[in-house]
Amino acid sequence: MKLDDLELEPRITAAVRRGQRFSSVSEVFGVSVLDLQRFTGLSRADVQQLTAAAAASCRRRPPVPALLLHRGECGGLASGLRLAVGCPVLDELLRGGLPVGGVTELSGESGAGKTQLALQLCLCVQFPTQHGGLNSGAVYICTEDTFPMRRLRQLITEQPRLRTDVPPSLISSLCFTDHIYIEHAADLDSLSVCLSRRVPLLLARGLVRLVVVDSVAALFRAEFQADDWLQRNKQLLALAATLQHLSDEFNTPVLCINQVTDVFNSSDRLSPVMSQVSPALGLAWANQLMVRLMLLRLQGVVAQGDQRSALRRLEVVFAPHLDKDGRDAAVWREGVRGVCVCEQRTSCQ
């Protein structure tokens, strides 16, 4: 915002312009009150007026009582809207699904089923809100392999088997492939171009309401050596800030897929000793996340009809509104589904 746009007495605006130090309102907060007086030659009361006007213009929204949020009277802010995963067992673990206003990370070993779950979410988002969707499409950014088109087509064919809660006529009326936008970004530069140009356009037009980055780790592990970690941290923070900004601006869930690394030093106080692996990219990345989920591959096999699947477990590592809990799951033709305990006991070896 320009300083001239502030509602101030003309002599204050003139004094600020004469000082030639500030081009935008946000810079006013970069200096102390005494420095402001020195640069502009204004009295303390005038400077207070200036900062008050600048503050009022920078503020997006005055403080809101949480009760109004609860009643849904403040659209956008902490709306409590969730994107369901499509399976009642997993949605119960997540208390509804992915939160709409933050970055969710899904990490796990290769073959755990992360891409499967991400593809499933791209379909779930297209359902109307009463069935846990957001009535919009998804943008899927691949950084490693090419997009698994065949698997997506298989998931679409098998949707009625997964979503037994939705009337079949509704499922067949949705044209899923039309609303999934696929982007490829092989390095950080092309990813930042994608996130700064194409993705905001899709979001602004309401064409998508889910952003998937598969995967984040691939970009950072390949490009940086061990001693470039300062530069790597900067890029990581910049990426996290961009994703958070997109999520806030357009009230959209952002899902980042991450790889895992082995844990050698178990006295690492970053997290409780849970498994042999921990998510990649370290503390700097972890600090920027709202929800951290992990998909583990367990010993054991589950059978369902003519299908067999290795047993998995979806764990909540941390989230502000979720218990540190997990549910067993399996990957079927129709997608990722949680396994109830009774099912598991009868079909597990």
Partner: protein
């Protein structure tokens, strides 16, 4: 030999000798005052505004302002240590609902001081902030403070579902404790709905919005005099990834001073959360609170939350009144609580 001279007399004499040019007035006004012969604060002692405006050639408004600044309109009267001791005795604390942590803190989080909570992601910083936002509202007849809270969220981790869980648990807890009529009467105003209506949420997306919000906070506090808690979750997020570290240090110092001023002038407990970062020294790396060394001096009390195996520990690392102490806690579905006794026995604590 000098007779006994009280400190107050000495302070007054020193104040009179202060040069007019050292006061925060605009340069034009200072020039006029000096050329009219008013060089020291003592010269302006018994001058009325109309006389000053006539003699120095100032407008009535400018003369009034100058006199207010120079004759100590802003400076508070000095206090003796005895008076301070009496004031300290009246200080209240906000309970955390974990009795061990409350005793380590000397009753709870103190009103009128700044408390910092540091920890890695998922350890429970936001949970403790949400718990305090509910606990500050506990009615005085139950030993609480009965105040309101303004919650500044910079991460988007204020999830209403969780606040409702914690509020409902606190209401249940107090209902069980209610013994006499006064307490039962107070329970009619301590319900989940009233708790939500007394939590004011502000979402800040970057440091400019955060600083703007803090500038506007005194106005909010004069409209809501019952506010007793200010939470900033987290203060680290908007300041990570700053390119100009010296500017960041300056901004943080200004921020720290503002927070202390808010805490003392408006009788608030200021609670801020901070992230952790790794500091590399040679070949050793160590987890330290973020935002640099100088930020360590910002708050009066520092609480460090960390993992030890699968247990959560809270350590009071900095407190003017108590020794360092470490206690174990847990995050249950009801909120922030003492760890289960059975867990403690198992762990051999």
């Amino acid at each position: 030999m000098l007779g006994y001279v009280s400190w107050r007399h000495v302070v007054v004499v020193v104040k009179m000798q202060r040069a007019v040019s050292s006061f925060p007035l605009s340069s034009g006004v200072k020039l006029k005052l000096l050329s009219a012969g008013f060089r020291f604060a003592g010269d302006l002692q018994h001058v009325t505004p109309p006389k000053l405006s006539h003699e120095a050639g100032l407008s009535q408004q400018e003369a009034l302002e100058a006199l207010q600044v120079v004759t100590g309109g802003g400076a508070a009267a000095s206090l003796t240590a005895m008076e301070l001791l009496q004031m300290e005795a009246e200080l209240r604390n906000i309970v955390t609902f974990s009795s061990k942590l409350d005793s380590a803190l000397g009753g709870g989080v103190p009103v009128g001081k700044t408390t910092e909570i540091c920890g890695t992601p998922g350890i429970g910083k936001t949970q403790l902030c949400l718990q305090l936002s509910v606990d500050v509202q506990v009615p005085p007849c139950f030993g609480g403070v009965g105040g309101h809270v303004i919650f500044v969220d910079t991460e988007g981790s204020f999830v209403l579902q969780r606040v409702i869980d914690i509020a409902a648990a606190a209401v249940r807890h107090c209902s069980l404790l209610a013994e006499d009529d006064e307490q039962r009467g107070a329970m009619t105003t301590f319900t989940v709905e009233t708790i939500l209506s007394n939590i004011f949420l502000v979402r800040c997306h970057d440091y400019v919005e955060l600083l703007a919000e803090l500038h506007l906070l005194p106005d909010f506090l004069s409209d809501h005099p019952r506010t007793r808690l200010l939470v900033i979750d987290s203060v680290a997020r908007p300041f990570r990834g700053f390119d100009d570290l010296s500017q960041r240090t300056r901004l943080l110092q200004g921020l720290a001073q503002q927070l202390v001023a808010l805490a003392t002038r408006h009788d608030l407990a200021v609670v801020i959360t901070n992230q952790m970062t790794t500091r590399v020294r040679g070949s050793q790396s160590q987890l330290v609170p973020a935002l640099g060394e100088s930020w360590g001096h910002a708050s009066t009390i520092r609480l460090l939350l960390q993992w030890s195996g699968s247990q959560r520990l809270a350590t009071v690392v900095k407190s003017p009144r108590h020794m360092d102490a470490t206690v174990q806690y847990q995050i249950s579905s009801d909120g922030f609580r003492d760890a289960d006794q059975s867990d403690e026995r198992q762990a051999g604590v």
